[in-house]
């Protein structure tokens, strides 16, 4: 019998829980189905401001009292905003999980957004934006995200200087009122807790929390741009970022794509690490990874190298992408599959990782996908599947960003330099 429960509660919350009675803690994740893509276009950054200030005062407690209440039970609570969702993760000992979720409910439902706290958060965001301009890899990620996803899905959580400068407390409150309700909530839990207990807590704590109709379940369109853009910036190394469209998590070929990606950039024996770093010594860091907004997939490749090696590194990366279908061996296929399966198995020993897996299942599939099913689908991938996948999904539309002192051959120069995208 499965120890996983998935159901929708009377208040509209979609809940999934895996009972692991031998664990010494409980991990939970409350995911609101609203992210940076749901921000008004003239209020970019407001979602993060809500997330940063939501626990800085409630109808019952001020900011310090809220933090003290979490510390009194030793619960670790943190928030993060993504393109399509905002997550509040919590870790607590089993005897305190009810109290921890009650505290989360208190700040999520009754925040007061004190004016002084919101003003400080806006000031800090301006400073964080300046600090972000010192983060070469973060900047490259922002630029390639904008090119690959377009105006809406490609937004950065920090917003833009002009939208942050114009932000007010009313904007923050309005955004919270519009997008925080139980109908947008998915809650995952893993560890020493029963599903019945979790259900009772969520029913009680989130009763009458706004709209109970399921919302935020549809993804947004991707506006992919085929471009090679260079952003000039004084750096020791040149950042290279490449993106191309891929299949979404719900696609029949998703696991084929996952294995393909592991062949490209799984362990140290994968192609990018081998060809770019080990054989030629062009980089210290090189990686490829997938991102999966609902209904879409995007593969990213990133590397950093000194400017004089930039063209060679870029050409080597592209050669490896092109070569994928040419000389695939059964050995590397087996290694890629072994690595993926082992990671699922070893991370099963980590309570927080199990919780994240459940949250992702709800987000992408709307149902629990057992670890055994994921493993079986990975193990079923053949070299013929990979070749077919590569034939059916040619990588002829690329979005490329470079950031640094040297413009890549054949690329356009960005009109806005490397100021983080401000116009």
């Amino acid at each position: 019998m499965s120890n996983v429960t998935h159901k929708t509660l009377s208040n509209g919350i979609e809940m999934m829980c895996v009972e692991l009675p031998t664990r010494h803690a409980v991990a939970t994740q409350i995911r609101f189905l609203s992210g940076t893509a749901d921000e008004p276009s003239d209020k970019l950054g407001v979602g993060r401001l809500v997330q940063e200030t939501i626990d800085l005062g409630t109808e019952k407690r001020d900011a310090r009292a809220m933090s003290d209440a979490f510390d009194a039970i030793g619960a670790a609570d943190s928030g993060a905003i993504g393109r399509e969702a905002t997550s509040y993760s919590c870790l607590a000992l089993p005897e305190y999980i009810e109290e921890a979720i009650a505290l989360e409910a208190e700040y999520l439902r009754t925040p007061t957004f004190p004016t002084d706290k919101v003003d400080v958060a806006i000031d800090l965001t301006k400073q964080e934006y300046n600090a972000f301009l010192d983060d070469a890899q973060g900047l490259a990620d922002k630029f390639i995200g904008q090119q690959a996803y377009g105006d809406r899905l490609g937004r950065h959580s920090l917003g833009e200087p002009q939208t942050i400068a114009a932000m007010t407390r009313d904007d923050v409150v309005s955004h919270w009122k519009n997008l925080y309700c139980s109908g947008r909530m998915q809650v995952a839990a893993a560890g020493n807790i029963t599903a019945a207990k979790l259900e009772a807590i969520l029913e009680e704590q989130f009763a009458d929390f706004g709209n109970t109709d399921k919302q935020g379940r549809d993804g947004y369109d991707v506006q992919f741009t085929t471009k090679r853009i260079h952003h000039q910036k004084e750096l020791e190394q040149q950042q290279i970022a490449i993106a191309f469209p891929a299949v979404p998590v719900s696609h029949a070929d998703f696991y084929v794509q996952r294995v393909m990606l592991a062949i490209l950039s799984g362990g140290m024996s994968s192609r990018l690490f081998t060809e770019v770093r080990e054989k030629q010594g062009l980089v210290y860091w090189v990686s490829a990874w997938g991102e999966y907004p609902r209904g879409h997939g995007m593969i990213f490749i990133g590397a950093s190298t000194t400017p004089e090696r930039c063209d060679t590194t870029y050409n080597t990366l592209m050669r490896e992408v092109d070569r994928l279908s040419e000389d695939l061996t059964e050995d590397e296929l087996d290694r890629a599959k072994t690595g993926l399966v082992a990671k699922i198995e070893t991370q099963g020993d980590a309570t927080r990782a199990r919780c994240r897996q459940l949250a992702d299942d709800m987000f992408h599939h709307g149902k629990h996908v057992p670890q055994s099913d994921k493993i079986a689908r990975i193990q079923a991938v053949t070299s013929a599947d990979i070749k077919r996948y590569l034939d059916e999904h040619p990588r002829n539309a690329l979005s490329v960003v470079t950031l640094g002192p040297r413009q890549l051959e054949g690329s356009e120069l960005a009109s806005n330099g490397a100021n983080g995208g401000a116009q």
Partner: protein, 417 residues
């Protein structure tokens, strides 16, 4: 209750420490070489880290390709890191693969150092150094150690300098390896669902020809300097300031109290968070205790727009002064304990986290501590023990101030005063 540990020392001096975790499905293993940047000479700065890279580049049994392929065949989560005083190689695998994982890392501990791979890897490390120069945090930390420990081996960066790495030869690495990777300077740590007798038998077989060392290398205990130094790097937008004070070693009786003091001052829900970050003065301010086997350094730091650096520095000092001169409240101490209790409960479930904790205990304390023993150490901290600790190791008075960023402040521009 019986101990979860098995401790064993082989005839060649190799120590083995094993924690049995019967409720998990995985296991992690690592070889600790008790050597790092502080065991180098200045002209060979970076040799420890370079050797760590080269251990992945070939042995008498495997070339670099076979090493990475074998790791990946095991489904291992693996890597290695070099610090000021240790180098650690590890892999986390499904439990049935643990013996093969140990065999692979043991093989790497006797690297062949092939010449062609040596030249290629030098390029990779030079790229790593270039990458570090684009990070304000990294530049600041290296500059800080360089000035605070000037004249001591802790002064040079773990990665080494462009010049020293460029000048290193294969023979330099071989000589260093012979001295520092002797069996009696190394420890095998294993945590997970394993059979200790089986692990010991495997280790015995794999390391039978490892020799003990005649190396009489002794580490000099460092004394942090006081003074002021700043480094102007115009291309950064933000300015970092760090105030440094003497800390304690990882096995010092006051270690837990000092850790609690830094947490109260600059951790989560801390005085710096509420009185500096939440006033809008700085998006990032904290307190960090860097502990080593024989010493420690307390670093109070913050980052802000260059124009605000004086105000931030004053605020960092003012909060530290209050901490030292007024006894902390019991509820502040209890908060630290409560947070730690939850973290330890979760980390205790993961073979990888336990591996790293055991390695740390064995290296600095000589023996592993269970999760409960770690918790007991945290529980022993009180407002009084913190006051005693801060009286002996104050976060005020003589300090070393380091500033890095676009502004020439306080005006030494690279020089120390």
């Amino acid at each position: 209750m019986s101990s979860p540990y098995t401790l064993h020392t082989l005839d060649n001096g190799l120590r083995i420490v094993i924690e049995r975790m019967p409720d998990v499905n995985s296991a992690a293993a690592g070889f600790l070489a008790r050597t790092g940047a502080r065991d180098e000479t200045p002209e060979k700065a970076g040799v420890s880290h370079f050797l760590e890279h080269m251990c992945f580049k070939g042995t008498s049994n495997r070339d670099w390709r076979e090493i990475t392929v074998d790791f990946d065949k095991l489904g291992s989560v693996y890597n290695a890191f070099t610090s000021e005083d240790r180098t650690f190689y590890y892999g986390w695998v499904p439990k049935e693969n643990i013996n093969q994982q140990i065999e692979l890392i043991a093989d790497m501990m006797r690297p062949a150092l092939p010449t062609d791979e040596f030249d290629m890897e030098k390029n990779v490390i030079l790229e790593e150094i270039a990458m570090a120069k684009d990070s304000l945090d990294h530049v600041t930390f290296d500059f800080l150690l360089e000035r605070v420990f000037e004249g001591h081996p802790l002064a040079w960066p773990i990665l080494g300098y462009d010049t020293t790495v460029t000048d290193l030869s294969r023979d330099d690495l071989a000589a260093y390896h012979q001295r520092r990777y002797a069996a009696d300077n190394m420890t095998l740590v294993v945590a997970g669902n394993v059979d200790p007798d089986d692990i010991i038998a495997t280790a015995n077989r794999l390391t039978a020809d490892w020799q003990s060392s005649n190396d009489d290398h002794q580490r000099d205990v460092p004394t942090p300097r006081t003074g002021v130094a700043n480094l102007v790097v115009e291309r950064f937008n933000q300015q970092i300031v760090a105030l440094c004070f003497k800390g304690v070693s990882g096995n010092h009786p006051k270690h837990e109290s000092l850790e609690a003091a830094t947490s109260i001052l600059g951790g989560s829900n801390s005085r710096y968070y509420w009185n500096i970050i939440q006033t809008g003065l700085s998006p990032s301010a904290g307190a960090y205790h860097m502990d080593l086997s024989d010493s420690g350094l307390v670093i109070l730091y913050g980052q802000t727009d260059p124009a605000n650096i004086e105000e931030l520095t004053d605020a960092l000092r003012a909060e530290a002064k209050k901490l030292c001169e007024s006894k902390v409240e019991d509820k502040e101490v209890q908060r630290v304990k409560n947070r730690r209790r939850t973290t330890l409960a979760v980390e205790g479930e993961s073979p990888y986290h336990r591996l790293v904790q055991i390695m740390d205990d064995v290296d600095y304390r000589g023996a592993p501590r269970t999760v409960d023993e770690r918790l007991d150490a945290v529980q022993s901290v009180t407002a009084d023990t913190i006051a005693d600790t801060l009286a002996e190791f104050p976060f005020q008075g003589p300090e070393f101030l380091v500033s890095v960023g676009p502004r020439d402040w306080p005006g030494t521009n690279g020089a120390s005063q």
